[in-house]
């Protein structure tokens, strides 16, 4: 799954450790999500989107699915 978590987090000027703490995960997990090495659950996706004041479609999408 592709994502723009790092891009939007940087734009929102939120530090990795702060976002991780807000959504209740470790920095390592957030880093894996940002690199696309771990697919988070829908609930976690929602929480991340909410913490970054954005929506799911902006943050996550499936590679090859033409929805953008």
């Amino acid at each position: 799954m592709e994502n723009r978590v790092r891009e939007i987090r940087t734009k929102e000027n939120v530090q990795q450790k702060d976002l991780a703490k807000t959504v209740g995960i470790s920095r390592q997990t957030l880093s894996l999500i940002e690199k696309g090495e771990y697919n988070p659950s829908l609930k976690l996706c929602f929480n991340i989107a909410k913490a970054l004041k954005t929506d799911l479609n902006t943050l996550f999408w499936n590679e090859g699915v033409n929805n953008r």
Partner: protein, 165 residues
């Protein structure tokens, strides 16, 4: 959010130092399921093997063999889960400054020492009783001292890996 007692127990048992998030849960569930399958296979095979062996050899020797085999399997399972934890870096502490590093390292040493002493105390009576029964009384203290020294070395090596820069 306060962690439930069970989560604290799981984290302490596996040596996880980070928040028990869904990634950690996935890793532990996967490894735990594999271990559970292998343990069940081992249990059923050892039960059938015991039935046969006990009719061939002295029950005392068979039970002694089972104790050694169980201990060996326990160490293999521990080593496997330890490898998975290290591979996925779940035992790494996330600290930002020297103060946090000191707090975490102190907490790490105290908890590991506490667990070592607790396991040693729990194992002392059954192991010494068994060794005495087997007529190997002289080997009891070297084994306990060896176990504790080995544990101290392991704790120090873990400390170096996790906290020394």
């Amino acid at each position: 959010m306060k962690e439930p007692l069970f989560i604290k127990l799981v984290k302490n048992f596996y040596g996880i130092s980070k928040p028990f998030d869904e990634f950690a849960k996935d890793v532990i569930n996967d490894a735990g399921n594999k271990i559970a399958i292998w343990l069940m296979v081992y249990l059923i095979i050892s039960a059938y093997a015991l039935m046969v062996l006990i009719s061939w050899f002295s029950p005392m020797n068979v039970v002694s063999g089972l104790i050694i085999a169980d201990t060996f399997v326990y160490f293999v399972a521990s080593a496997y889960i330890g490898r998975i934890i290290r591979k996925n870096k779940l035992d790494r502490y996330e600290f930002d400054n020297e103060e946090e590093r000191k707090i975490y390292s102190k907490r790490f040493i105290i908890s590991r020492l506490f667990m070592s002493v607790l396991i040693l105390l729990l194992a002392m009576y059954p192991i010494s009783t068994w060794f005495r029964y087997m007529g190997m009384y002289q080997s009891i203290w070297p084994i306990f001292i060896g176990y504790f020294t080995g544990n101290l070395v392991a704790i120090y090596m873990q400390y170096c890996r996790l906290f020394k820069r």
